[in-house]
């Protein structure tokens, strides 16, 4: 029996989701680390190193998903229109900039890391936007959502890293940055969800997004907001509260991206704008199974 109503795509699996998770968090972490370096002179070489590792890990997962992995150099052939090519082209200089920033801690390397990380994160979000066959991905609101969540995850990872290495940020700037990114993500998520509530996606997509929304809102917005605001208000407890808030922001972002790539990714399905007329002049309503 042919499938007619939209069904969950299986072409991109958890490895693809891993690229958006690793690349998003990695580039977000690099953006936050570079912003800290440029704004307050605070350096965390481990943040740049971890960012590079996460980005490389994500790209490695994509490589594992290729049917013909030893042709990987062909990925660079179409920068004119393919965001996958653009992401791949940005990756080598970005990794180099992160390596330099981790080693030399100079302002110039910070600027390079910041610009290239933003470009990488933007390219990643456009990869999904250009996938016209998946209504949950092609919606333009996915771009601000993925950029905001990447920075929120990066800020979360930055705070978590500080706890792991015992070098928590000296200034409240990192926490303020995390709060701003989490707020931006909550706005982007709300706008993205509102769009689909109006029925411009298959029922499966709407159901999947509705199912993850409480987690994204609670774990991704409410919990980190409370913890990070408490960390600002209670300097004595910052070592415990800030990393926990960061962890919540990070985990919610990963879960959201995994769900968008793997659970909400119903395809377009098939539809006929006008069923054939049984008699001359007769018309019938459009048939679009799985959308209402």
């Amino acid at each position: 029996m042919d499938r007619i109503a939209p069904w969950l795509q299986t072409h991109w699996d958890a490895r693809a989701a891993g690229n958006f998770i690793g690349g998003g968090t990695g580039s977000g972490l690099a953006i936050v680390a570079a912003a800290m370096l440029l704004a307050s002179g605070e350096t965390q070489p481990a943040a740049f190193a971890l960012a590079a590792l996460l980005i490389a890990l994500g790209l490695g997962l994509v490589w594992l998903e290729m049917g013909r992995p030893w042709r990987f150099l062909h990925v660079f052939l179409h920068p004119h229109t393919s965001w996958m090519t653009r992401e791949a082209l940005i990756a080598p200089p970005l990794l180099a900039a992160l390596g330099i920033a981790a080693w030399f801690e100079g302002a110039a390397s910070g600027v390079a890391a910041l610009v290239l990380s933003l470009a990488f994160l933007y390219s990643q979000s456009q990869i999904l936007r250009a996938a016209k066959g998946i209504p949950a991905w092609r919606e333009p609101r996915i771009v601000p959502l993925l950029v905001a969540t990447g920075i929120a995850e990066g800020a979360g990872a930055y705070l978590l890293l500080g706890a792991v290495f015992g070098v928590l940020p000296e200034s409240p700037f990192a926490i303020a940055l995390a709060l701003a990114a989490i707020f931006a993500r909550s706005l982007a998520w709300s706008s993205y969800r509102r769009h689909f509530a109006r029925g411009s996606a298959p029922t499966g997509t709407r159901g999947a997004l509705a199912a993850i929304s409480p987690t994204v809102v609670m774990l991704g917005t409410f919990v980190p907001f409370v913890l990070l605001l408490a960390a600002l208000a209670l300097p004595d407890a910052v070592n415990a509260l800030a990393p926990l808030g960061g962890l919540a922001a990070l985990a919610a972002g990963w879960w959201m991206k995994y769900a968008i790539v793997r659970r909400a990714a119903f395809n377009q399905g098939f539809a006929i704008a006008q069923p054939p007329a049984e008699r001359s002049g007769a018309t019938r309503a459009e048939a679009r199974p799985g959308w209402s």
Binding site: D2, G67, F270, I272, A277, E278
Partner: protein, 213 residues
Amino acid sequence: MTRWAMVVDLRRCVGCQTCTAACKQANATPPGVQWRRVLDMEVGEYPEVQRTFVPVGCMHCDDPPCMHVCPSTATRKREDGIVTIDYDLCIGCGYCMVACPYQARFKTDRASFAYGDRPTDAEDKGFDGGRLAVATKCTFCVDRVDAGTAQGLTPGIDPEATPACVNSCIAGALHFGDIDNPASNVSHLVAGNTHFRMHEELGTGPRMYYLWG
């Protein structure tokens, strides 16, 4: 300028799947891969229910999203509008498959055959290892079209130059021809009947026209 297109008369299609079988035979596609499918759709609600058969496949779009996203330039669009895949360039990333709103692309990672692990004689003849782990799809039988036009034949009129699915249709529901030529068979059909194109709102410019009234 020639621009190949397909016209499907939904009032004529009986859902026999002969086009599907002809495509599989002509293109030696493995089990589970159907470049030309016929959907069996129920339309309406009881008691006003109607059964409609809808042939689908690659729409050879005017603005193909699969081509734009392809990172390797394996997917291209010819001057005559046929969207092709260079199997030697394709990296099998699957990006085109999620970009296509018509579910027209397939990827098989391992060789598979209709009866167990070994190919039948016919499958052996048509087997192409170069099509494993890369994207594949309907080509509008581009080899037949090219070979036919090189001999001065007219695709859509002369069977030797016409896609296998169109040749095989028992009900005269499938038609192929040059939509840019106002005198062509497909131009006459589109002009003389009401029609739609699937998912036209997405702006892909699909070149399969469905006649309905």
